[in-house]
């Protein structure tokens, strides 16, 4: 039997076995690489907070239990000042602020928590409850059912979630492409469909990313934290009072001018308030 003949029957058996082997190897490689992709976000989560932060949080919890809400707020803020944060920490700060009677601050903290963890039902519930206690009723924008669904979908994902999805798709796309170039013919047929699917998903995710960016750009960037804020026509005491806003009202913040800040709710309703009347919301994180 010639050498070539010896190999021919083996190739038949080797094709099936080889395909299985390559598929298994590819899947294993994918898992390894995707878990590697999650490493950067896991890196921060794995760090243990220092003792001072732990103590502040424990004290805050104890103060809240004892209905000393003002003290709880200060302890939670201390943990924030030490450079540590989480959606849960902002959530607890919102709860303590609300119980302490600071509706404006409560709205601000719950809004921060929602931005970090948009699908958390407790945060959404508390934010809705606190917002409904505000005195200002802003005109609701009319929108179609489709836009409402799209807005709801975007609301349930943070910017870092969208980036995470795109990065995962980037990895997946690279792996499928590698399989397509290195795999055998049967695998290559499947990987062609895989590549098309990944390309479609990347396209959709990119559109989602752009919509999210637009949503963030057009979302309110500040909250009224004083009981009543007079919105004046200019950054001076003597200017005309255009209208009055109350604690908890979300608004857009513009340029500063000394101790004043330009704010607006709509094109018609804009003016200036003192810096102490308003607090800026933290800009959302894009990186996981």
């Amino acid at each position: 039997m010639s050498h070539a003949c010896q190999r021919t029957p083996m190739r038949g058996r080797g094709n099936a076995a080889g395909l299985r082997r390559v598929t298994m190897r590819s899947a294993y490689l994918c898992c390894c690489l995707l878990s590697l992709a999650a490493l950067p976000s896991a890196a921060g989560a794995g760090m243990a907070p220092p003792q001072s932060v732990v103590e502040s949080i424990r004290e805050a919890g104890a103060a809240y239990e004892a209905s000393r809400y003002g003290e709880a707020v200060e302890c939670y803020r201390q943990a924030l000042a030490l450079g540590w944060c989480s959606a849960a920490l902002y959530y607890n700060l919102g709860c303590a602020s609300y119980k302490a009677g600071r509706i404006g601050w409560a709205v601000a903290y719950f809004e921060e928590a929602r931005r970090l963890s948009p699908r958390d039902p407790n945060i959404r519930h508390n934010l809705r409850t606190v917002t409904s206690k505000g005195r200002d009723r802003l005109p609701e924008k009319e929108s179609s059912r489709l836009l409402g669904l799209l807005s709801g979908l975007l609301d349930s994902y943070s910017p870092s979630d969208v980036v995470r999805i795109i990065v995962a798709l980037f990895w997946l796309g690279a792996l499928v492409l590698a399989v397509h170039w290195t795999g055998r013919e049967a695998l290559r047929r499947w990987s062609r469909w895989g590549l098309a699917l990944v390309a479609l998903l990347v396209g959709l995710s990119t559109i989602g990313l752009m919509l999210k960016a637009y949503q963030i750009a057009s979302a309110p960037s500040g909250v009224i934290v004083v009981e009543e804020a007079q919105v004046r026509s200019g950054p001076r005491e003597g200017e005309t009072v255009q209208f009055v806003l109350h604690a908890g009202t979300l608004l857009h913040m513009g340029r500063p001018a000394g101790e004043w800040r330009e704010v607006w709710i709509s094109d018609q309703m804009r003016g200036w308030v003192t810096e102490e009347a308003v607090v800026a919301l933290i800009k959302p994180r894009w990186l996981p």
Partner: protein
């Protein structure tokens, strides 16, 4: 006097006041008159009108709260396309459109026209108001009239009058009625009334049945200064018997509402009747015209003026929340839906209906309801004429948004008004207002499942697992993030290299054989079982080397003689020592396979083979590189 049932159907009101009645004229005369008027209008029209002008006139400049004034806006020399005047809305005043009339005159060859818009203004709040400017748009231009100033004083500022009931005149009394074939008169249903109380005024034209009436022109209704006047439907025609004679009666009626207290006068009404002039006809009138148009005479008729004593509303027993509503009313309140939902709007419709000055019914007193947000949603008036009087309904709508769930019981809505018939103030209230407000939370579903009632509205408790998700606020991971995510690019680059390499091997089979030769060789060596017979092991070893060398040298080594193999290896730039070792190993294998010696060296030869393959691979790869393969 006997009164017959009304004949036929009602005719339009204008029928009495100067409408040209062709059916009462002979046809040729009517045609001639029509042609004459048309030609006259045709000549007059080019004479043109003057500049458009707005004139405003108000019947009283000072009234009390609850009283009504009449504003007349006269548009002179405007085109037919001119829009209705815009009277600006003013808080404290209720302004109602009371219709309009057109007046065309042709005097000394000069043509002029005017449209008079009438508005009724109910005073609701004290103060001095400047009403205007009233604007009119015509042919794209905006014209402005002079503003009107109106002063409103507190209600009931006038001295109270003695309480006297209104006296009703007997219908069709013959006393004082002229015993002529044609006469007119006015009738009032009362001569004493309270402020804003409804009075019915009738203008009656009696025509004895044996009298022929060509035409009626120049109708001037009785002047009613100091009253808000409301038409009571179209003209009524009927027949009555007076002193044995039958009369055809034409009747027009109005409802009057006094807008000020004191003695007010109903001015005389005028009308001109055209009847046949029999004396002239007998004197040789034109045969052609049949004595119809020129053989007639005009009979002007004037009614007597009447006086009405208007009493102010009584001061004593005046309730706290009274705002000037006069009449006889009933109130009703209802929700627009049988059930409500927490947080969703619900309309409460309060209807005040009855007889009286419906337009001026004041808003009822709204209670302070709890558990609701309340928004005013406006009011609507519908007026109708029934049994010769003005009746109607005014509805007030409030939008309510329940803020809590459960059965909601609201205080009734009440209205205070003055009842002139009973001469006392009255307060009426709606029935109980109850509705079930469903909670906001939806039913969990399933048959028989009940909705969960939200009893409280508080925030949820804090998190206790706070330490688990804590992260540094600004982790320095940016470079790390991008570095890690560069890896996929490396994978893609590696795959691309591998693809290219595979393509090269596919195009060059000898290179492909060489590329995998060492790997296959090692695999064969690994498969050799040293526990088997020496000849078998030597045979496998020999075959492994022969296949390996065949792959590298691109030859079939198995059939070669040792001398040819030596030459082939020498051509491949294998060192003499390595060449010798290779041939020595193959010779040993042949000796064990076909002879009897060397069986004890198997383990040693296997170790040598492994080392020899490494050296051969290195040497052959070096020689291949040197040869540019």
């Amino acid at each position: 006097m006997k009164r017959h049932q009304p004949q036929a159907t009602s005719k339009p009101q204008q029928g009495l006041g100067g409408k040209f009645r062709l059916e009462q004229m002979r046809a040729p005369a009517a045609l001639l008159m029509f042609l004459f008027l048309v030609s006259a209008a045709g000549i007059a029209a080019p004479a043109g009108a003057g500049e458009p002008r707005i004139r405003t006139e108000i019947n009283r400049s000072q009234v009390s709260v609850g009283e009504v004034v009449v504003l007349e806006v006269s548009l002179e020399n405007f085109s037919r396309r001119a829009k209705a005047p815009q009277v600006p809305k003013t808080e404290g005043l209720e302004i109602y459109d009371a219709g309009h009339s057109t007046n065309i005159s042709w005097v000394n060859g000069k043509f002029s026209s005017s449209i008079i818009y009438t508005y009724k203004i109910a005073a609701r709040k004290e103060g001095t108001y400047s009403l205007g400017p009233i604007t009119v748009e015509d042919k794209g231009r905006l014209y402005r009239g002079e503003p009107v100033t109106l002063r409103i004083t507190a209600a009931g500022g006038q001295a109270p009058a003695s309480r006297q009931g209104g006296t009703r005149q007997s219908d069709h009394s013959t006393s004082g009625a002229p015993a002529t074939a044609l006469f007119a008169r006015i009738e009032l249903d009362k001569t004493q009334a309270y402020l804003d109380e409804q009075i019915v005024l009738r203008f009656l034209l009696y025509q004895r049945t044996d009298i022929r009436l060509y035409e009626i022109t120049g109708f001037e209704p009785p002047t009613t200064e100091g009253f808000w006047r409301e038409d009571l439907g179209p003209q009524r025609d009927y027949r009555v018997e007076i002193d044995g004679n039958y009369y055809d009666v034409r009747e027009i009626a109005w409802a009057l509402f006094p807008t000020k207290a004191g003695e007010l006068e109903i001015g005389p009404g005028r009308i001109v009747c055209h009847v046949p002039d029999r004396s002239r006809r007998r004197g040789g009138g034109s045969v052609f015209f049949g004595g119809s148009i020129f053989g007639r005479r005009q009979i002007p008729l004037t009614t007597e003026a009447r006086r009405i004593q208007v009493k102010p509303l009584p001061q004593h027993d005046r309730p706290e929340g009274f705002t000037g509503t006069v009449g006889e009313y009933e109130i009703d309140a209802r929700f627009d839906a049988p059930e409500a939902k927490q947080g969703e709007p619900l309309a409460l419709i309060v209807s005040v209906r009855g007889s009286g000055h419906v337009q001026t019914i004041a808003e009822p007193e709204w209670p302070q309801w709890e558990g609701l947000r309340v928004y005013d949603s406006g009011e609507a008036v519908s007026v109708e004429k029934k049994d010769g009087r003005v009746v109607g309904e005014k509805t007030f709508t409030q939008v309510l948004i329940p803020t809590r769930s459960g059965p909601l019981s609201l205080d009734p809505v009440c209205l205070t008004f003055f009842n002139p018939r009973q001469e006392r103030y009255a307060a009426i209230c709606s029935g109980p207002l109850q509705i079930d407000v469903h909670p906001l939370i939806m039913s969990p579903g399933g048959s028989g499942a009940e909705g969960i009632v939200a009893l409280g509205d508080d925030i949820l408790y804090i998190r206790t697992d706070l330490l688990e998700g804590l992260k540094p606020s600004r982790p320095d991971q940016l470079s790390w993030f991008w570095l890690v995510h560069l890896l996929p690019l490396g994978i893609v680059a590696g795959a691309a290299w591998f693809r290219r390499h595979r393509l090269v091997l596919e195009r060059n089979p000898s290179l492909a054989r060489r590329a995998g030769a060492a790997k296959r060789m090692r695999a064969r060596l690994a498969r050799i079982n040293t526990g088997e017979s020496a000849s078998r092991v030597a045979g496998d070893l020999s075959e492994a080397f022969e296949v390996y060398l065949s792959d590298w040298l691109d030859l079939e080594v198995r059939g070669l003689r040792r001398a040819d193999l030596r030459n082939a290896l020498a051509d491949a730039w294998i060192s003499a020592e390595l060449l010798q070792q290779t041939l020595s190993l193959l010779d040993w294998a042949d000796e064990v396979r076909f002879g009897a010696g060397g069986a004890g060296e198997i383990r040693q030869r296997m170790e040598i083979s492994a080392a020899l393959v490494r050296e051969l691979e290195s040497a052959l790869r070096g020689s291949a590189l040197g040869a540019g393969l």
